[in-house]
Subunit: 406 residues, 2 copies
Amino acid sequence: MARMVQKYGGTSVGSPERILNVARRIKSCHDDGNEMVVVVSAMSGITDQLLGLAAQVTENPSEREIDMLLATGEQQSVALTAMALHGLGCPAISFTGAQAGIETDGVHSKARIRNITPDRIEKSLKDRQVVIVAGFQGRTNEDNITTLGRGGSDLTAVALAAALKADLCQIYTDVEGVYTADPRIVPDARKVDSISFDEMLELASMGAKVMQSRSIEFAKKFGVVLEVRSSLKDVPGTIIKEETEDMEDVVIRGVSVDKNEAKVTLLRLPDEPGRAAALFNLLSEQAINVDMIIQNVSENGLANLSFTVPQVELGKIRNRLAKRIREEVGAEEMLFDQEIAKVSVVGIGMRSHSGVAASTFKALADAGINIEMISTSEIKISLVLRLKDADEAVRILHANFNLGGQ
Amino acid sequence: MARMVQKYGGTSVGSPERILNVARRIKSCHDDGNEMVVVVSAMSGITDQLLGLAAQVTENPSEREIDMLLATGEQQSVALTAMALHGLGCPAISFTGAQAGIETDGVHSKARIRNITPDRIEKSLKDRQVVIVAGFQGRTNEDNITTLGRGGSDLTAVALAAALKADLCQIYTDVEGVYTADPRIVPDARKVDSISFDEMLELASMGAKVMQSRSIEFAKKFGVVLEVRSSLKDVPGTIIKEETEDMEDVVIRGVSVDKNEAKVTLLRLPDEPGRAAALFNLLSEQAINVDMIIQNVSENGLANLSFTVPQVELGKIRNRLAKRIREEVGAEEMLFDQEIAKVSVVGIGMRSHSGVAASTFKALADAGINIEMISTSEIKISLVLRLKDADEAVRILHANFNLGGQ
């Protein structure tokens, strides 16, 4: 008997039949004697449909009204899920974010949860009801409806689990858990039984398909044990939790790849203090997130500097910044390269096992794959290489660290 | 400069283009310096779509969850209407029923408004914002979402007009106002400029197409001046208000017809005290609304009794009650007749003008139309006649009281 929070995404509740499937699973957990709080997203497709309507009445909708509009999607899902449970003979009650006591700040469309007052949920749990809460939404203390932005339903689930001191927060999704690598690239990739918050955060590019960093950080901060599992198959998923000692026995947890980055190189930059600062100032003014930065040794007082950014930001840099970068930072030439990929090897075991970097470089060198940029953290080594080499590099590293099979 | 409440039905906001039309009209009233509170219904079709989803997850949905589900329809409309106004450069803010301070009892799916706390609306009006309120919904003092049942958005508008002491409550619909008769039956039927609450209530069968009795009664109780007008054409509609002296100058306000009633006749009933009581007790146990009741003079200690009920109730009477009526009430025979219609002549002028009944009967007799039942109130004469004669009777009476033309 445990207190559990479960979260089902839009695909899991995307049709009446799927809602009934979800309801059956919830009922079975409830029948086992667990206290159940369930967070659901809007049925898949609804949000886009509503945004389409909004776009037809105005080009530039106010964010308050967009929140008012979008919040209806989750409200519909919770009502339907509660009805489905009733139909199965399981007591249930649905709540909007506001009714569930989720208070946020007033930043519409990407509000932050400030406080949760779960009195009403506690009372319903005491009455042995399954509590269904609308994900992705809350209300301000002026009683306006807010939404939490991308990945908001995960955040609702994690925050409720923290506020309710739940034993476990299960995130149901369309994958079975976190894998040692993308199974589409590495056929013998293995589902990871458990992983630490920090590793999960470092695997963000891989993990993003499963959960957003924001929710993982929140879970880490409040010590909420997460399980990512499949809403289609009833098999154990991946537990994400505080690092435990035995986790260090595994040197490498997984290998991820990110093909959505681009590399920008400034050639022949005067090697003087303040040049890099001027550059990254310009980028941050445009709210461009820079990932890796490499500057090579100086030659004749001139340096070459490379950095990676999300591909979608390239246009901004070309159109709005290229001229200013040449003039204000002083680079003689700029190169843009989209044909790259970032491959990362992640594991907290790195801290206590030496030679991981050397082994990584050697494995790739043996295969004739060139490394263009390197960046390391305590528990991660990231490499930028040619896009065409990326999948092969993932397979080589996955094999090199014996991550495959059972 | 006035304080106005406007209500737009589901058809008026049935598409993005229509929402934009409504927004233009609202903006123009706002630009004239009026304080504007606007109640909107769900976009036409949405409610049925949501009920369809509910039917697919359970056969017997809980009314609390149905309210939770359906309330999203109006929430979407208010958000889209506010956005459309923003797009036109008109300040506006949308509220759910709960945010607007509409408190109801806990009878889900047909809640009654208990109290309105319009502080937030008043504040927004003071800021010169147009306030858009979701119709049809409210919340209980336990913070559950309720809906008000059929005609609920009209009721929201009337109740807000009362709470805000509005100068006028305009009900926008797809007709231009209240007519002296149905224009499809009487080609020269005329739009009525103003009508008293009581006349409007007596014309319910005609008026129901425009507004439900419940909202008219509410308006009467709180002295809210109503105007029913077209959302398509910008022309004055019909004002519904407290009776004024000059209203009595017009003897007859209009002629209505109701083709949805049926007549039930009990033959050879013992003419003893308590028989009628027993009959209507049985009917009220089944929540059957009886309209007209006629009992003829007794002959040989046996009476014949006829009453009219909505046609949809006939099945209940045949299947559940016929046997008990024969046994417990003692009628020898029961006749069911759906081929009837009720024609009513309504006007507060009747009170001060004699001869209306005589003139009514004579006009029909001259045309060879037989009257089967008669029932009168202070301001109405209702007649039951053959269904096939109904339209002709309406035309004759309309002409007889000179209601046509301008």
